[in-house]
Amino acid sequence: MFLSYLHLTNFRSYENLELELKPGITSFVGSNGEGKTNIVEAVGFLAYLRSHRTASDNPLVRLEHEKAYIRGKVETAGRQELLEIEINQGRANRARINQQPVRSTRELLGHLRAVLFTPEDLALVKGDPTERRDFLDTLLISRTPRYAGVIADYEKALKQRNALLKNRPHERDLAPWDEHIARFGSQLIAARLDLIEDLLPFVIQAYKSISEGDEIGATYKSSQDLRSKSAAELEREIFELIPTLRRGEMERGVTLVGPHRDDLLLTLGPTPVKGYASQGESWSYALALRMGAYQLLSAEGMGEGSEPLLILDDVFAELDSVRRGALLALIDSSEQVLVTAAVEADLPKSFNDRRFYVREGSVRE
């Protein structure tokens, strides 16, 4: 698939930006702070309904304005869709598909699929478990959009339950929230397990294309040593576990079982990557995870013309020639690639791209 048109209104630094885009490679070159990343951030928002740079939507709306708009035309195997999002300050966002308002912005998920590489990807390997949970959940939503609902319900149930736990609740008051945690938590864990199983071969393959040597591995690590694989069995397991955790939960005022405490354990040969791998190995690993994600979504797409967008935000500067080479191979297999770079010298010499220069919020070819 590819994005043929992008229109930003009061989004970050852009009061009004219209771009006609084509398949192939498009680069946006500009110094930091000139607004190049804002463009790919907007494309990412169309795909994921969230920014890769900020947890809150507020910074996305241009100063002194109440709402921002992102509009994009997506072409998938000859079919065209117009996706629109209205980002509101202090109110729920709204969305339209082909000019029809949708009940929930979540209905937009899956219409534009994209995989985004950023300099912060190193945190996938070196950072806290939350980085890896986020990686899994974002990919899960791209793959099966209905999980956005499961995740939202789980997170809300978790907040409600934690609020209750802080007030020394009656057993009877906790019961409904125990059920929610077990139901949505088990669905999410089961989906992550499925995802890892399908993703891992692609990640292993990608790592081999970057680096020789040890085989990599990834296993899901649940905080309470859950054994089941299916959602139904996990639900029962979590439900039985909850009463045994009561005392600790009451003392600390937090929920101690569930997907919010889990991690993806990455290994290189026999050793865990975190804390042991070199900077170079860590970068190779991070790239392999993203590349694997891209390959998985491509393989599960509707065939020719449904590959996800590849977005490379300022990553070339971080990589040596070997790792650049691995990315170039991925670029060749993609229908559309959006790249940002601070200086032209960061871009590979062999690049056959359409180049835009971004300066003080203006974008010129």
């Binding site: 149930a157 009877r172 019961a175 409904p176 929610h180």
Partner: protein, 198 residues
Amino acid sequence: MYEGAIQELIDELGRLPGVGPKSAQRIAFHILQSESVDIQRLVEAIREVKERVKFCEICGNVSEDVQCRICRDPKRELHAICVVEESKDVQAIEKTREFRGRYHVLGGAISPIEGIGPENLRIKELMTRLADGAVTEVILATDPNLEGEATATYLARLIKPLGLTVTRLASGLPVGGDLEYADEVTLGRAFEGRRTIQ
């Protein structure tokens, strides 16, 4: 910022649900430019609603009398009570004409984040009503979202030991949505297919 009275009006309007700062400003200036008699009617309507409308002593629905129209109606069946969050849900269900029993309005749903626990809802009143033996079926029609589901689960656990049939409106209702927004066909079908809670 405007001066004095107009800003005060904008601030007050801005506190209403669903009214953003822009709309508050638009409504305020609309009021300022309207005919006095029209505004007088609006002021009267607001005053009347606060003075005349009360909550039914039986079910908690809005009512102009001590008891609401539904609770007073001798043709309504006594064996079934439909539990809803708000009075507006009573209106939504009444439109479907599927339900001939009576209602119980809780006044919200359980939400620990907002500090709303079972003791803040009209649950004690519900249990008192169920104790008289006339009611054999309780239909839980709380909103199909997390808080509504949690409230239904809580009530089911409380009511089941009394030996009554407890049912929940079948899904088909939009998840995360208000009952009020469900269209009548969906809501009517949900009533037909209500399921017993385990």
